[in-house]
Amino acid sequence: MSLLFSYLDAGTGSIVIQSLIGIVAGIGVFGRKFLASFGHRIRGMFSRADSGNHSDKP
């Protein structure tokens, strides 16, 4: 069994530009992921605090 590499010519110019676009767009993806997880944590804190309040009720 032998491993195959690409049968397509990916093109050096296309690889160079995809790395540049990827870095710029990747920062956006990272930012969105960070904001999403940050928002999730904040919501988590409030929901825990919220459920804690309920449990304090007699």
């Binding site: 069994m1 032998s2 491993l3 195959l4 690409s6 049968y7 397509l8 010519d9 990916a10 093109g11 050096t12 110019g13 296309s14 690889i15 160079v16 530009i17 995809q18 790395s19 540049l20 676009i21 990827g22 870095i23 710029v24 767009a25 990747g26 920062i27 956006g28 993806v29 990272f30």
Partner: protein
């Protein structure tokens, strides 16, 4: 007794990827996976990616075939699979704008899913997508490769040439430009597309990146100096996700400006009264029900927005609804339909005066329109006058061609007095003296027998049900 071994019939368009190929055998489609594609294919199955994509209807499902006894042995062969059949193979140069856009978005969705399973698409050909009615499905189960950290997407250039470039040209010029994909079956060269786009296209952030800067980068780096070492930048997983996200946004933001179709208002702007239209629908339904056995595949030629295709689909036939007007096909593709009808009607662009030819290497990579037939039944409603008058095709030529396309033909004859013909005859008053019902019947009588013939109440039009004469065409050869 020695078993007879028949050579598998290789698909003419399946030869580039050494990981395997498609072949036809005893009327069914199979895919051979070669030993060189074994590692990637096994990972594709075991990682759960295949199950996820096939389960969601994004990828054509397949069944494993243990062996086929009557094909020759092949030491390259690792496995055989039988993909679920696609009722009609269509090509990107026959798709309307939204079909190409949906195919692009499907490819990107599959790429995202593949990455989350530790795989990557190794190519991004538009020919890897087919349509089942309105639903795009990915058909190449050998397009997946195990992802290696830092590896770029080899299919990025192909994705831009097959999808981004033609979609951008369609938006900034005309959706008809997509028909030129016939000439560019390996995708549109970005340098040429950059020169064809208007300057204002640079204001589109996605096109600036994926067309203009991409083309400039190709021009700068694609010239390989002899002896130069192939040094390629690595691309992080996050950058790859960013690239896919950027492409998705770019494709999503490409939309056609609102335009009027040539025949898009046909049913609202006709000399048909509502009662005549209802009568016509009844005749078409009655004729379809008369055909025995029930047609599995119907080709509706000149289908416009698919009003009559819906009748055939409602009776259980899969309908290939073709029209020359790309905006009418767009309207047909985006029309609101029930879930059942959505999967039963495939709208495609087809100019019958210049139908899709066989294309590619040895004219065998992409089949002609006719080679994908014959259909069980063909419908040609409100079409004959376009062919006979607009395209000056003699009746006998039309009859001869239609006899190649299907086993039955439902065709509407429209007399010269019809308002639609009067529009076509404007400035050509003294021509087409032989455009008569008698000549029509005589020409079609050479190739067909008349099963039924009925005037449309409330109009001067007549609808025929013809059956092709077996002596004229060997459909089941």
């Amino acid at each position: 007794m020695k078993r007879r071994v028949s050579q598998p019939d290789h698909d003419g368009g399946s030869f580039r990827d050494p990981a395997g190929f498609i072949f036809m055998h005893r009327g069914a489609v199979y895919r051979q996976i070669n030993r060189s594609g074994q590692a990637d294919y096994d990972f594709f199955i075991k990682s759960g990616l295949y199950g996820k994509l096939a389960g969601e209807g994004l990828l054509v499902a397949h069944e494993d075939i243990k062996s086929l006894n009557d094909i020759p042995s092949d030491e390259q062969r690792y496995k055989l699979i039988r993909p679920a059949p696609i009722p009609f193979i269509s090509y990107p140069y026959e798709w309307t704008f939204s079909q190409l856009k949906d195919a692009a978005l499907l490819t990107l969705q599959i790429q995202r899913t593949a990455l989350s399973f530790g795989m990557i698409l190794k190519d991004a050909s538009a020919y890897n997508v087919q349509f089942i009615g309105r639903r795009p499905v990915f058909i190449d189960s050998l397009s997946f490769r195990i992802y290696k950290a830092g590896a770029p997407w080899d299919g990025y250039k192909q994705f831009c040439e097959h999808f981004v470039a033609p979609l951008a040209l369609a938006v900034y010029s005309s959706p008809d430009i997509l028909k030129t994909l016939r000439a560019y079956i390996d995708g549109m060269p970005l340098l040429a597309v950059r020169d064809l786009l208007p300057t204002r296209a640079k204001l589109h952030k996605g096109l600036l990146a994926h067309i203009y800067l991409h083309a400039a980068s190709q021009k700068r780096y694609d010239r390989v100096e002899p002896g130069a070492a192939a040094k390629q930048p690595k691309i992080s997983r996050l950058a790859l996700e960013g690239l896919i996200s950027s492409l998705t946004k770019t494709v999503n933001r490409l939309d056609l400006p609102k335009q009027k179709t040539e025949w898009g208002d046909y049913y609202n702007d006709t000399n048909y009264s509502q009662s005549a239209l209802t009568a016509k629908k009844k005749i078409v339904k009655k004729y379809l029900e008369k055909i025995s056995p029930k047609p599995k595949i119907v080709w509706d030629l000149g289908a416009n927005d698919g009003t009559f295709s819906e009748i055939a689909a409602g009776l259980g036939s899969y309908v290939v609804a073709s029209d020359v007007d790309s905006l009418a096909v767009e309207l047909n593709y985006t029309k609101n339909r029930s879930l059942v009808l959505r999967d039963m009607i495939l709208p495609i662009i087809q100019d019958l005066a210049n139908p899709s030819p066989a294309l590619g290497w040895a004219h065998a990579e992409r089949r002609s329109f006719e080679q994908r037939g014959p259909a069980d039944a063909v419908m040609a409603l409100a079409l004959i006058h376009h062919l006979a008058i607009s395209n000056t095709l003699p009746f006998n030529k039309i009859a001869e061609y239609f006899a190649q396309l299907g086993k039955y033909l439902i065709i509407e004859f429209i007399p010269k007095s019809d308002s639609k013909i009067q529009i076509l005859l404007h400035r050509r008053v003294n021509m087409f003296e032989d455009y008569t019902q008698e000549n029509f019947e005589a020409a079609f009588g050479i190739y067909f027998t008349t099963v039924a013939r009925e005037p449309v109440r409330g109009s001067k039009r007549v609808i025929y049900l013809f059956k092709v004469k077996p002596t004229k065409i060997a459909h089941d050869k």
